[in-house]
């Protein structure tokens, strides 16, 4: 299990879902994961300099994980802190 899945699992667990149907639970987690990804994506986009967007699109087209991370790290200072911050903010908002 990777980090994001673990994170989402813990969120869903902390939220108190006692859903027994694994498919339903998986759907709940999928939705949470999607929202979290959207939030992080929005943060990245908001932090990228305008003149890097064309290159960013090319990197997205290549669909290569390493390239994407490397590119974003290059242009977004304190990326890890920002990502963790978004995770925390999402956690707070989600758990309410």
């Amino acid at each position: 299990m990777n980090n994001i899945e673990q994170f989402v699992d813990e969120l869903v667990s902390a939220k108190g879902f006692d859903e027994k149907d694994p498919e339903v639970l998986a759907e709940i987690k999928r939705g949470v994961m999607s929202r979290l990804e959207d939030r992080i994506n929005a943060m990245v986009l908001a932090n990228l300099p305008e003149d890097s967007l064309d290159d960013f699109n090319k990197v997205l087209d290549a669909d290569n994980e390493e390239q994407m991370i490397s590119f974003v790290k290059k242009y977004v200072p304190d990326l890890d802190e920002k990502v963790a911050g978004e995770m925390l903010a999402f956690r707070s908002a989600y758990l309410g």
């Binding site: 990804e37 994506n41 305008e50 960013f56 997205l60 995770m87 908002a93």
Partner: protein, 1139 residues
């Protein structure tokens, strides 16, 4: 790139031996075109149909929020996947479109594309991008030549399916890039092969044919040019929707470490920063602004896409009618002015006729050039700007109309150029060069199309304005209303939560209890803002435990802090105030009032700046240790009164106490001197007349009654008896006795009294006298007269007691730790989708079910004739029942048939009338046996695999065999059965199981069947006789595949009773159409003995020749004739049994 256009690929005419022909083939990569089509269909399915728009308000709102906003991209991608699968399943590039286009029509459209690439005028017809895509070196392959030859060989019929498979293999060898299964190609090689086969069927000897298939490779994005115009940011947003970037970033090691820290300490480092008021507000607004920005950008990207969708749909002939087409009407206001391809073609065709007629005037030339320039400008701008300025009747007709337009335009340009070059056309322009002049005119037309009030640039500006308005609204909705909705959700949640304060709870607590209102450590964002604007620092640290005490101000002032807060002193004498590990105040210079020990106002203000309040109080600290009576009296200066004793009421018996002198008693419980409260108590029992001295008498009871005169005076020592503590009467009992109560905590009680081991009060001072206070003396002392005296222990110089000290106290009131939670921005406001357009009406095709398919979005299965099969609910009732085996037994040879039928269905849908299935995909041995018997079997070398090529004829036989086997199996094993519903076998049975397909060469058909059909047509007309072999077919002409021409020698009887005479019909042409034959006009009837009746009869029979197929022709064909169909060089004779 080759600029020299090759000759097109005509149907080959019979050629003399050794004369080599070149057949021009094209293989065109249509991947971009197909991908664009897939997106078009998916986007069209995401529009709101009339039915959707008529749903009730709630359903429409849910759709707008869910399908068209929050989950829009999910639904769109799902539709894209579905369309892609439909295309893969059916092999129909246009599958899924609202405008139903069957496989044959799709193939025709694809052939129109390849025709453009092989046309001799292709340089005039192709776009720049298409011309650039052409591989400079055309390819030829002996393998391909051999394949075409093999297909044309009518003695060993090769199926289309087999041809296609072999063709793909050869093409992949020609160019490895064609092995990529993701790419989609259109080619005309099978058509070339069919033409060759037809030529052979018409008498051309195959061995005498010498040809090369010359292949051109190219690519096209199709007719439509419109694409959504996105800027880099728009594209980023769009692409991020489908990227895994967010997931990747969360899984980076740095984020993992930080998020682990998040869990371990329960909060993130920069939440401290967020504690500042500014950060709170910025964070609250920041989230909303980011949400709003993303929403606005997404809206802009979607508008771009929708505009492109709108324009592409218009280019395909889709119309938008209705009063509720709000979004479409809005899009129309920004749509470009377009021209219909058919209208432009008509215009140019007229121009071409004029040029060819050679009677042009100068004005005509200008007009014609303007027409061409206008069209070219539209094409050029379309290609450059990815927009469509030419529209078509429908998607199906697009390639055909486009090709016609291109061809007409090309012919016109060539004719003009030649005319100008040859001088036949007067060209009196500023330049002699026709093409230069035309280029100038195109440029002028481009400017005209771009400019003006309804020009492209104005339309773009209008769209930009509309987009700005809508994106601004999207921003506002998401940033404010979205955040507002999120905040409302959060407040609602807070009301139900005990450990979270919402703004309503905060206001209520503040109103009723001030800052001590039991605020929780968690607040909603609105409550945080309320606290911020009210300058409230709540909750406070609870001061319910022991807390901490600090000596400050040189030890003079005591400072108390609640649990969880500490004060530390720095070397420079300043202070730090800590809450846990948080430094609330650092290097604070606290200064104190030297008199009171309180903080100076300046220091107090410093604390209050961060919400810390210091509550000041003073306490008196009681002294301790023995001291002299004099010192004691000094230290309790306020308690003592100086007295002058004057009269002792001794009743004139100074040597012994009597009467009232003895009536001063211990009061309290049982005379112990200690009352229920623990205080000390004296009581009197004096009587009237019991106190006198000499002539002075004092009525004590009466004085007690009056009050204020009788008191008690307590002396510490004999030597200090001139200073006493005076005590008034505390109360008077029912007998008139005075009661004196000494507070045990008063200086008198604490220092001059105690309780002994027996629980009796003891007076440690010298005298406790009952006195009459007779007023003040001149020196200010009190004059007193003694009534009775209680003599104490007289511990004069060992009195225990100390000097009381006033101690200043400061109690710090410190704000507690709390945080707030940002609300989720919930932009669930919905979005109005584009309304669905109306696809062009489909023209009814022969033999087509008038009902048409039930679901326009469903995959369209096709029958053997290429006509879409009907949806199951519209199928006519079947006479047969194909059953799905539910309880298949493992030992049953039809075990697995259910799965096999699905494989069969899939192959049939993909292949059309002819298809193949592979034995490795099949499970049922029984089914394989049937296939082996009826299909063309090809064994794969080196393995047990077999490929069954199923022809139209075989399909019926297979269905029939399965039907029978199925019935038998059901009876034998008594299996549980279930109707399978829509199944190709069901239709095969209905259509073909009892049909027989007999391929007959065209020559044989002309010789054997056609004469008999003609005889049958004239049967019953006694005045006309058609002898056997009366029809003499013409072999001298190359005929289109579906035509039969010949002369008919007949005998006619001019009148009743007369003899028959010879007559003939020359140039009698039969055309095969819709499964029947009809006679074309143009024949010549020669009758030597002309009579009108005979001529009328001949004309009637020939005009209505098709009615012969309504007769029972079973005698002619062995079975009932159902239809005829051309199939390459053969005529497929379809007959049916009488069931």
């Amino acid at each position: 790139m080759s600029n020299k256009a090759p000759a097109p690929a005509p149907a080959p005419a019979p050629t003399p031996a050794n004369e080599k022909q070149v057949f021009k083939a094209a293989i065109v990569n249509t991947t971009k075109m197909v991908e664009a089509h897939i997106t078009d269909v998916a986007d069209a399915r995401m529009t709101a149909s009339k039915e959707d728009r008529n749903k009730n308000w709630f359903k429409r709102k849910i759709d707008k929020i869910w399908k068209h906003d929050l989950m829009q991209e999910f639904y769109r991608q799902r539709e894209i996947s579905k369309v892609r699968k439909e295309i893969a399943d059916t092999g129909n590039f246009y599958a899924g479109d609202k405008e139903i286009i069957d496989s044959n029509e799709a193939k025709e459209a694809m052939l129109a594309i390849t025709d453009r690439f092989t046309d001799e005028l292709r340089d005039e017809m192709l776009t720049k991008e298409e011309k650039d895509s052409i591989d400079e070196n055309s390819r030829s392959s002996q393998e391909m030549n051999d394949l075409v030859r093999k297909y044309a060989d009518t003695t060993h019929v090769m199926s289309d399916q087999a041809f296609e498979e072999e063709k793909k293999r050869i093409i992949a060898n020609l160019d490895p890039t064609y092995k990529d299964k993701r790419e989609v190609y259109a080619d005309n090689i099978l058509e070339i092969a069919k033409n060759v086969r037809q030529a052979v069927a018409n008498g051309q000897k195959l061995e005498e044919l010498d040809f090369d298939v010359d292949i051109t490779l190219g690519s096209t994005r199709g007719r439509m040019q419109t694409a959504a115009h996105h800027n880099a940011f728009d594209k980023g947003v769009e692409k991020l929707q489908n990227s895994k970037l967010g997931k990747f970033l969360v899984n980076t090691p740095g984020a993992i470490a930080l998020s682990a820290a998040v869990y371990s300490v329960g909060k993130y480092a920069f939440t401290k920063v967020a504690r500042t008021d500014a950060a709170k507000i910025a964070s609250f607004g920041g989230t909303a602004v980011i949400s709003g920005t993303v929403a606005a950008t997404k809206e802009a990207a979607r508008l771009n896409r929708e505009r492109a969708q709108h324009h592409r749909e218009k280019a395909k002939g889709v119309t938008f009618e209705g009063d509720d087409m709000k979004r479409r009407n809005s899009m129309n206001t920004t749509s470009y002015e377009t021209q219909k391809a058919t209208e432009v073609t008509t215009l140019l065709a007229g121009d071409l006729a004029k040029v060819e007629a050679g009677n042009m005037q100068p004005a005509d030339l200008d007009m014609i050039i303007a027409h061409i320039a206008n069209l070219r400008a539209r094409k050029s701008l379309g290609e450059d700007r990815h927009i469509d300025l030419v529209t078509y009747s429908s998607l199906k007709m697009m390639e055909k109309e486009g090709k016609e337009l291109d061809k007409t335009e090309a012919k016109l340009v060539v004719a003009l150029r030649k005319g100008v070059e040859s001088g036949k056309i007067v060209f009196d322009k500023e330049t002699d060069d026709f093409d230069t002049y035309l280029s100038q005119q195109i440029y002028t037309q481009e400017r005209a199309l771009l400019g003006g009030e309804s020009g492209i640039e104005k339309k773009d500006q209008a769209f930009t304005k509309m987009k700005a308005k809508r994106t601004a609204w999207a921003f506002v909705k998401s940033a404010t209303l979205g955040a507002g909705i999120g905040a409302v959700f959060q407040e609602a949640h807070a009301l139900l939560s005990d450990d979270l304060d919402g703004v309503l709870e905060g206001m209520s607590k503040h109103l009723h209890q001030g800052t001590t209102g039991g605020f929780t450590e968690h607040a909603t964002a609105l409550e945080a803002l309320r606290r911020h604007f009210n300058h409230e620092d709540v909750p406070r640290l609870a001061d319910t435990g022991a807390g901490h005490e600090y000596l400050m101000n040189g030890g003079a002032t005591t400072m108390h802090t609640p649990d969880g807060a500490t004060v530390t002193v720095n070397p420079d004498g300043t202070y730090n105030i800590m809450r846990g590990n948080d430094v609330l105040e650092k290097n604070l210079p606290l200064e104190f009032d030297k008199t009171t020990g309180d903080l100076l106002p300046t220091s107090r203000a410093l604390l209050q700046k961060d919400g810390i309040f210091a509550n000041f109080s003073q306490t008196t600290q009681h002294g301790s240790g023995p001291m002299s009576a004099e010192d004691y009296i000094k230290s309790h200066n306020g308690d003592f009164t100086k007295v002058h004793r004057h009269t002792f009421y001794d009743n004139n018996t100074a040597d012994k106490p009597d009467l009232n002198e003895k009536r001063e008693y211990w009061g309290g419980e049982n005379g112990t001197g200690v009352n229920a409260k623990g205080n000390y108590e004296f009581r009197t029992g004096v009587k009237a007349g019991g106190s006198f001295h000499g002539n002075d008498a004092f009525d004590v009871p009466e004085a007690i009654k009056k009050g204020g005169i009788v008191k008690m005076a307590f002396s510490v020592t004999r030597g200090t008896q001139h200073e006493v503590i005076m005590l008034p009467v505390s109360s008077v009992d029912e007998h008139g006795n005075a009661i004196f109560e000494i507070d045990k905590d008063s200086a008198l009680g604490k220092d001059l009294f105690e309780v002994n081991a027996d629980g009796h009060a003891v007076f440690k001072g010298q005298f406790a006298e009952l006195i009459e206070d007779s007023g003040k003396a001149a020196d200010g002392a009190e004059n007193i007269n003694i009534i009775a005296t209680h003599i104490g222990l007289g511990q004069a110089d060992t009195i225990v007691g100390g000097v009381d000290k006033v101690v200043p106290h400061l109690k710090l009131d410190i704000p507690g730790s709390w945080d707030y939670e940002m609300p989720m921005v919930v932009p669930i406001l919905g979005r109005r989708p584009l309304e669905s357009g109306k696809a062009p009406a489909k023209k009814k095709r022969p033999n087509e079910d008038p009902h048409g398919p039930a679901d326009p979005n469903a995959p369209t299965p096709h029958g053997p004739d290429g006509v879409p099969l009907k949806a199951k609910d519209k199928l006519p009732p079947s006479k047969f029942t194909i059953r799905k085996f539910v309880g298949e037994k493992p030992e049953d040879k039809y075990s697995g048939l259910t799965q096999d039928l699905e494989v069969y269905e899939k192959a049939r849908l993909a292949g059309g009338s002819e298809f193949s299935v592979n034995s490795k995909d099949l499970k049922s041995t029984g089914f394989k046996e049937i296939l082996r018997k009826h299909a063309q079997v090809t064994k794969t070398p080196g393995s047990d695999e077999e490929t069954y090529a199923v022809t139209l004829d075989a399909r019926g036989k297979i269905a029939d065999a399965l039907y029978k086997a199925n019935q038998a199996e059901v009876k034998r094993s008594n299996l549980k059965v279930q109707a399978m519903g829509h199944n190709p076998l069901l239709e095969d049975l209905d259509k073909y199981a009892h049909e027989t397909m007999k391929p007959v060469s065209k020559e044989d058909f002309t010789k054997k069947y056609l004469p008999k059909l003609i005889q049958e047509a004239f049967r019953g007309y006694g005045n006309i006789e058609v002898p056997d072999n009366a029809f003499l077919s013409s072999k001298s002409r190359v005929l289109p595949a579906n035509e039969f021409v010949g002369n008919l020698d007949i005998k006619v009887k001019p009148s009743k009773g007369s003899k028959k005479v010879d007559a003939k019909i020359d140039n009698l042409k039969f055309i095969m159409k819709d499964g029947k034959l009809e006679v074309a006009k143009g024949y010549t009837f020669t009758n030597p003995d002309e009579t009108k009746d005979v001529r009328d009869t001949v004309n009637k029979v020939l005009t209505d020749f098709g009615s012969v197929f309504d007769k029972d022709l079973s005698g002619l064909f062995g079975e009932k004739l159902k239809s005829l169909k051309m199939n390459g060089g053969n005529v497929d004779v379809l007959t049916t049994k009488k069931v």
